[in-house]
């Protein structure tokens, strides 16, 4: 973390703002990074399960993966990557003092996230329509590897969708804060932390996308 090294002389120490005990930006960011680490490990458990079952059921995973809609998957990847770009632009805009542009960019991120979820809804609805969902008769009669593939597909993309929703709520709060001038061009740690969370949601999707849609 920046400036965490300790000065050596007592005189230097006395001048540190640190002695006043105020929450500084570096602490806030460190807390966020540690939290992101826990999120990565949360999905890490699922990735381990995925790897194990893929290794054990290669052929079934191959056949099941053929049934996913690569077009919607790619579209959603593009949408999510763009939303990360707008989130980053929002920070830069605010830092340079352009509050209106920052709000527009952050709002675009939230809207893109919403479009992502709408696409997800249609994708899942189509699968349900074809009788592919946990516990369905169609799925029960397939080889166990395919049941596992779709079980993991629903739980991993489902958990990711929950994170998209959480990210939208967090960013919406930050948006209100910018609107009310509580997050400003000099004090924007909340916006940075919100965007960090959003990038995490993005990164997880970048791994989910090839694992389910591209590897056949």
């Amino acid at each position: 973390m920046s400036n965490s090294s300790h000065p050596d002389t007592i005189e230097e120490l006395k001048t540190l703002p640190h002695a006043e005990h105020k929450l500084d930006v570096a602490s806030a960011k460190m807390g966020m990074w540690l939290f992101l680490l826990t999120e990565l490990l949360l999905f890490g458990g699922l990735f381990v399960i995925y790897a194990t079952y893929r290794y054990l059921n290669q052929e079934a995973f191959h056949h099941a993966a053929m049934e996913l809609n690569v077009f919607i998957g790619t579209l959603n990847t593009v949408i999510l990557l763009t939303s990360s770009l707008t989130a980053a632009l929002s920070i830069t805009a605010l830092r340079l003092g352009n509050r209106v542009l920052s709000i527009i960019m952050l709002a675009s991120t939230i809207i893109l996230a919403f479009i992502f979820l709408v696409n997800k809804y249609f994708e899942w609805a189509e699968k349900f329509h074809h009788g592919i969902f946990p516990g369905s008769e169609d799925l029960i009669n397939r080889p166990p590897g395919q049941i596992l593939f779709f079980g993991l597909y629903y739980s991993m993309t489902g958990l990711h969708a929950l994170h998209v929703l959480a990210g939208m709520i967090i960013l919406a709060f930050v948006l209100v804060f910018i609107w009310r001038n509580k997050v400003t061009s000099t004090d924007y740690a909340k916006l940075e932390n919100g965007a960090l969370y959003w990038h995490l949601v993005d990164i997880i999707w970048i791994f989910l996308f090839p694992l389910f849609y591209l590897i056949k």
Binding site: S4, K14, H21, S27, L34, L37, T38, G45, I147, G151
Partner: protein, 550 residues
């Protein structure tokens, strides 16, 4: 934290005027000291509930056959005893109570890095506890899977598994937030001059614990969440009928739950280092070795989970690697024990209550640790797996380790936390009773386990009767002594005694502030120049004092 309030540092934090009054002044307070006490009350309450369940189990085992309850009730009671003791008492354990209260003071800060998050983690703890209790009264009835939620039984049983799992998930979240808060606090809030190697060893142990909490807890979070999803939707990941692998569940479960053992014990080891240095009036021997060994235990602890599964079905290669790694954990643990003993050598030891509890701890924990090597060896574990031997082993390390040190910490810091002093005659006799009761209760388990008594059975063969009777009588002595110990403290709270600033002659920062501390802990943030255990300076200081008086 009182950022916007002008802090009144002339009175102790109990007497500071707050916005809310009554209980609201506590349950909505972001003061780390108040949150520590909130946790203390909650933890001790759950401990008493868990102990009552334990007493009931021992009563059932007093004689062969059905004594006071049937098999289904017994299954639920050992499950609840495990869940309450593990998830609501020892896993939170020392950090949220004593870490919350003393971490900021020991590093010379006014509060933790995120005071609101701190309050939130207490609320999550309480909500988790409420969910756990609620699950007992819902349709399915109390959970009967054992605290490990092993699949496939946890998928098939009609009892209310999902609610309890959700409770455990929330409790895990609370634990993560505490760890995250403490790590940030230690990195960012140390007083000027306090480098990492000038921190008290208790702070070091909280640091190592924080990392395990952050890195291990999410794994069990997702694992048990999947059990819940499996029960609700049948996704297949752990259900053998749908192609899932129950052994994979065990791997993921122990990937967290073994490091969790170190979440329980590391803070206790930190407290032991403080108490031994203070009551030996001697600089701790091998400060750096103790500090680094905490991190080493935290690190190696990640790679030994397989030793819970020697009989579950694993390749021989993985089994002996896990066994070897298990033996490696004994090295940093041994480093600590030897350093503590070396600290006491030629020290001027004062055998006060906290010190006696620590001596009990070293005795009990050594038995627990050494029998850990017996169950960590492949050949002996095949014989001893799932017997009372294992139950004895983990009660010696968890209860004899963390449990005893929880009470040691309570007695060590009680004067500072409450500004009162307890009756030491009563507390010392209680400690003696606790140790005796403990040995009577759990040592026969080693013998029973070796003879072949399996765990989690409500009934047994007649030849085991004698040892079961000894054990049950021991449980009465143990719980009786603990109740006297707690009653003694409650009586001290109501008494008119006052505690000095530094009743034990400790050298760490908490002994420089008033008992109880004021709201912002320090008048001025101290500037640290020396180490935490500079007892060798004591003589010089006293000499200077005498010179001044002349």
């Amino acid at each position: 934290m009182a950022n916007h309030v002008i802090a009144d540092n002339s009175v102790d934090f109990y007497k500071v005027k707050t916005k809310r009054s009554g209980i609201g002044a506590w349950i909505f307070s972001t003061d780390h000291k108040r949150i520590g006490i909130l946790y203390l009350v909650a933890l001790v309450s759950f401990f008493i509930v868990g102990a009552i369940l334990g007493i009931l189990m021992r009563l059932e085992m007093l004689s062969p056959g059905e004594t006071i309850m049937g098999p289904q009730t017994y299954n639920s009671i050992f499950t609840l005893h495990g869940l309450i003791m593990i998830f609501l008492f020892v896993i939170p354990g020392i950090p949220p109570v004593f870490g919350n209260f003393f971490l900021p003071i020991m590093i010379g800060a006014k509060d933790v890095a995120f005071p609101k998050l701190n309050l939130m983690s207490w609320w999550l703890y309480v909500i988790g506890g409420i969910f756990a209790i609620l699950s007992l009264f819902l349709k399915g009835g109390p959970i009967d899977t054992g605290w490990t939620f092993y699949v496939p039984y946890s998928l098939r049983t009609g009892t209310d598994v999902s609610w309890m799992i959700f409770a455990a998930f929330i409790l895990g979240f609370s634990s993560i937030l505490t760890g995250l808060n403490f790590i940030t606090t230690i990195h960012r809030m140390r007083a000027p001059g306090m480098s990492f190697f000038k921190m008290p060893l208790f702070v070091w142990s909280l640091y190592a614990t924080g990392w395990i909490q952050i890195l291990a807890t999410p794994i069990i979070g997702i694992t048990i969440l999947l059990v819940m999803v499996e029960r609700l939707f049948g996704i297949g990941v752990f259900d053998p009928a749908l192609g899932g692998d129950p052994i994979l569940y065990q791997h993921l479960f122990w990937t967290y739950s073994h490091p969790a053992v170190y979440i329980m014990i590391l803070p206790a080891m930190g407290v032991v280092s403080e108490i031994i240095a203070t009551f030996s009036h001697r600089t701790i021997f091998g400060y750096k070795a103790i500090a680094i060994s905490s991190l080493a235990i935290a690190f190696v602890g990640y790679f030994v989970w397989g030793h819970h599964m020697f009989t579950s079905g694993m390749s021989d290669t993985s089994r002996w690697i896990f066994s070897l790694l298990t033996f490696l954990v004994a090295i940093p643990s041994g480093v600590k024990i030897f350093n503590w003993v070396a600290t006491m050598y030629k020290g001027s030891i004062e055998a006060r209550t906290p010190f006696l509890l620590v001596m009990s701890f070293i005795f009990l924990f050594s038995i627990g640790g050494l029998t850990g090597l017996i169950v960590g060896s492949l050949s002996t574990d095949i014989h001893l797996h799932d017997t009372y031997f294992v139950v004895a082993h983990f009660h010696f390390v968890v209860f004899g380790g963390t449990g005893f040190i929880f009470f040691a910490a309570l007695h060590y810091w009680f004067p500072k936390m409450f500004g009162k002093m307890y009756n030491e005659v009563v507390s010392k006799w209680s400690v003696a009773g606790m140790t005796l009761g403990f040995m009577m209760l759990y040592f026969p388990f080693f013998i029973l386990g070796y003879m072949g008594m399996p765990r989690r059975y409500y009934d047994y063969l007649p030849e085991f009767t004698t040892w079961h009777i000894v054990s049950t009588v021991g449980s009465w002595i143990l719980v009786g002594s603990i109740l006297v110990l707690i009653w003694n403290l409650v009586r001290a709270l109501k008494s008119k005694t006052t505690a000095e600033v530094n009743p034990w002659g400790g050298r760490t920062l908490e002994w420089t502030v008033p008992s109880p501390p004021p709201l912002e802990n320090f008048e001025v943030i101290p500037i640290i120049t020396g180490g935490p255990y500079d007892y060798h300076l004591l003589e010089q200081e006293q000499h200077n004092l005498v010179e001044e008086h002349k």
